[in-house]
Symmetry: C2
Subunit: 194 residues, 2 copies
C-alpha cells in the first residue's frame, strides 16, 4: 500500500530513472521501506498511467534498455500530501525470531542461542551504520524542516536497533541460564527442577 508513496517522495526529492531509484532505496529510503527494481518499475508504470508522474522529455527515449527519467506531477504531489495526513493504524509486529522463541518452548531451545548471538552481531552492525549516517548527515546545525524530519526518522531506526540489542542480550542470558540448568539436571537427575 505504501510503495507508490515511497516512490513519489523519492522522486520529489530528486527526479530519477528506475535504476537510480533502486539504488537510492538501497541506501536511504530502503532502511524503512525496501523495494526491488522489479517492484519499482511496475509501480512507475502504474504511476505514469494514473497521471501522478511523467517521463521527463529527454532527447528521445522510446526503446528498451534506454534510460527514462521521471518527475512528479501536481496530481501526484496532492495524493502524497493527502496520504501523509491519512488515518492509518500501525501494523502489528511480525517477527520470526519471537515466533521461534515461542516454538522453543515446546520443542526445546537447541540451536537458538547461536541464532540469537548472530542477530546481536547484525543489529550491532546496523546500529553502527545508522550512527555513522547520523554523524555524517546531522552532525550540526543547518536544520531545514526536511532535515529535522529525516533526522527524526533516523533516530527511530537507531532506537529500534538499541531496543533489539537490549532485548537480544537478555534473551541470550536467559537461554544461557536454561542451558546451565539443563546441564545441572543431567547431573542431578531431572526431578530436581520438576
Amino acid at each position: 500500500m505504501s510503495l507508490p508513496y515511497a516512490i513519489l517522495t523519492a522522486l520529489l526529492e530528486k527526479p530519477s530513472s528506475g535504476l537510480e531509484l533502486t539504488r537510492r532505496f538501497d541506501k536511504s529510503i530502503g532502511y524503512f521501506w525496501s523495494a526491488t527494481h522489479q517492484q519499482i518499475y511496475r509501480e512507475l508504470g502504474k504511476l505514469e498511467e494514473s497521471g501522478a508522474i511523467r517521463a521527463l522529455p529527454g532527447p528521445r527515449q522510446p526503446t528498451r534498455g534506454q534510460k527514462k527519467e521521471y518527475e512528479v506531477l501536481p496530481a501526484g504531489r496532492d495524493e502524497l500530501a493527502a496520504w501523509v495526513a491519512r488515518i492509518e493504524d500501525p501494523k502489528p509486529i511480525r517477527d520470526a525470531l519471537l515466533l521461534r522463541l515461542r516454538a522453543a518452548g515446546v520443542v526445546g531451545t537447541e540451536g537458538l542461542e547461536a541464532e540469537v548471538r548472530r542477530h546481536l552481531v547484525l543489529h550491532r552492525a546496523q546500529l553502527a551504520e545508522y550512527r555513522a549516517i547520523e554523524e555524517r548527515d546531522f552532525g550540526e546545525g543547518g536544520k531545514s524542516e526536511a532535515d529535522r524530519l529525516r533526522h527524526l526518522v533516523l533516530r527511530a531506526g537507531i532506537d529500534l536497533e538499541r531496543f533489539w540489542i537490549g532485548w537480544l542480550e537478555t534473551a541470550r542470558a536467559e537461554l544461557a541460564d536454561m542451558r546451565a540448568g539443563a546441564a545441572a539436571d543431567a547431573r542431578t537427575g531431572p526431578a530436581a527442577t520438576a
Copy 2:
C-alpha cells in the same frame, strides 16, 4: 514463510480445530504473527497433505461445516525443531508512519501531528494490554522453561511499545515546534527562517 511453524507451535501447545486456532491467534500468538482464518485453513490443508499434522480420529468428520481437530505428527515436530535453529536474517523494518514523516519533508507536515497523537494513544493502549497480561500470567514463580520463554517474548512486545511511545513523543514535540516556527514565519515573513 513462518505461518506453518506458528501453526505447528500452536497445535503442539494444544491440538485444535481451525476456528479454535484462529481465536488463539487473535489473542496470543497473533500479537507477533497474525493470521486470518482463511490463511489458517489453507495452511492446515497443506500441513496435513505433507504429513506434518493429522486430523484427530473423532466420531466421524467427512463433511463441510463439521469441526475437525488436528494434532502434530513427529515429522511436524522435527521440522519445527529444525526451523528454531535455522539461520534466518532479521527482516528490515517496514513502517508506513516513518515513510510518512519522510514524505512530510517534501510536501509539508499538514495533518501529521494529529496522526502521531492517534498512534500514541494506540501504542499506550497496547502497552497497557501487554502489562495486564504480564501481571496475570507471569506475576510470580512457577517458571517452567516454556513460561520463561513466553515471558521473554512478551517483554519484547512491551519494550517495543515503550520504544514507539518514546519516539512518538519526541516526534510530536518536534512537529509542534515546527508548527510554532511556521506560525512565527507567517507573522514576521518566511525570510527569517530561510
